[in-house]
């Protein structure tokens, strides 16, 4: 049976815990957590991930910079990226998608929406 791996990049321990709970509902999905963009890049350098879920507003390196870096990484340049943010405007969404994000979820997050988005991007039934 296929196994997928997901990297969550989020500085808030509460949001990370919530995302881990939500993504535990996706069968055969192994979740790894990173505290911020730099930690995320470190983890991406040491393993291959099938999907990345990242917050935008983070200290040290924010989510948009992370998206840019991931898109220039030959290993993960095609890896789907889900952006999670408090910004709900159309412009913010467009900016994130233009940078190379594949999906955009606004806070407060709804677990079923996160699950559905990840499943859709991984093409899991």
């Amino acid at each position: 049976m296929a196994e997928y791996s997901c990297l969550i990049v989020e500085d808030s321990p509460m949001m990370r815990q919530l995302l881990v709970f939500a993504l535990a509902r996706v069968k055969n999905l192994r979740v790894t957590e990173a505290d911020d963009g730099v930690d995320g890049l470190r983890k991406l350098a040491s393993a291959r991930y099938d999907i990345i879920v990242t917050d935008i507003n983070m200290p040290i390196m924010d989510g948009l910079k992370l998206v840019k870096r991931v898109r220039s990484d030959p290993v993960h340049k095609d890896t789907p990226i889900v952006i999670i943010t408090t910004e709900g405007s159309h412009e913010d969404r467009q900016r994130a998608l233009q940078l190379g994000a594949n999906a955009y979820i606004t806070k407060p997050i709804q677990a079923p929406q996160v699950i559905a988005t990840v499943k859709e991007l991984l093409k899991i039934e």
């Binding site: 509460m14 815990q17 408090t86 709900g88 405007s89 606004t106 806070k107 407060p108 677990a111 079923p112």
Partner: protein
């Protein structure tokens, strides 16, 4: 050459005697009649044969028609039977479809319930994950911002004499608006006194403001009211409060203040854990 004369009477003439002639004529007549009858019979026979062929053709045609009618009847019966089977199958299919939709709806309901419980668990877990007042306050703000979707809010605690609600933490509102409010003569005081949350469910909470907050939640420790959280407005994408938000309000009301009080007492005790003697005689 001698010619022999024959015939009765032995006359010299070639003409037959009249009786023979009559017999001959009668014979000829009979033969002629027989011939005519034979011809008529032959024609009649031919007509009969033609008619027989016609009848045979007609018979074959009728037989084919009867057979066709029978086949059509059989086909109609088969169609009726198939229609009946189709109705039965459709009925079973609709029943299965309804059952499937019911199961799908139930699964979605359970998933939503699970998500709500996960939110409550995470919020509760985070509120009690710190024993520093600042850490607890940061977590209360996180629950408000990340789980409820509050954009502008303020946490007030009551003054020692219970006359005022004093702002201790806020977000998204100008400092000059953050002032103590009277418990006796304010809407926040009303919530503090009654212990019942005030939530305007008819209004889009993202459009709330300082004078008409989207929600005011009383904070209690045990049975004592200690303050309120006022959510003035939510993020623009959060346009109504859901069941989970009301559950989070209850959780904040019951646990936020007790987490703050515990952290404050721990800080006041120089972060010293209570001795074993504090837990003796606790068994009930």
């Amino acid at each position: 050459m001698v010619s022999q004369k024959s015939g009765r009477g032995g006359g010299a003439s070639d003409a037959p005697p009249p009786d023979l002639k009559r017999e001959r004529d009668e014979l000829l007549h009979s033969i002629s009649k027989g011939t005519r009858i034979t011809e008529e019979f032959t024609r009649e026979h031919e007509r009969m044969e033609a008619r027989l062929r016609e009848l045979e053709t007609e018979n074959a045609s009728l037989r084919a028609k009867v057979e066709t009618d029978s086949a059509v009847r059989e086909l109609l019966e088969k169609i009726e039977q198939l229609e009946k089977e189709k109705r039965e199958l459709m009925s079973r299919f609709h029943a299965a479809e309804a059952a499937s939709s019911e199961v799908t709806a139930r699964v979605q309901e359970i998933e939503a319930e699970f998500a709500n419980l996960a939110n409550l668990f995470v919020a509760s877990n985070q509120l009690h994950a710190s024993l520093s007042p600042r850490g607890v306050m940061r977590r209360i703000k996180e629950v408000l911002a990340q789980l409820v979707g509050a954009e502008r809010y303020c946490l007030y605690l009551s003054s020692a004499d219970k006359s005022e609600l004093v702002p201790v933490a806020f977000e998204g509102i100008p400092g000059e608006r953050v002032t103590p409010v009277s418990i006796e003569r304010s809407a926040f005081g009303e919530v503090f006194r009654s212990g019942a949350a005030a939530v305007n469910e008819d209004r889009d909470p993202s459009r709330g403001d300082f004078d008409a907050p989207a929600a005011v939640i009383p904070l209690s420790v045990d049975d004592q009211r200690v303050g309120v959280i006022a959510i003035f407005s939510t993020l623009s994408q959060k346009q109504r409060f859901d069941t989970i938000d009301f559950e989070l309000f209850k959780l904040l009301g019951q646990q936020a203040a007790s987490a703050l009080v515990s952290a404050s007492l721990f800080a006041a005790a120089d972060r010293k854990l209570p001795g074993l003697e504090s837990f003796i005689d606790l068994s009930v």
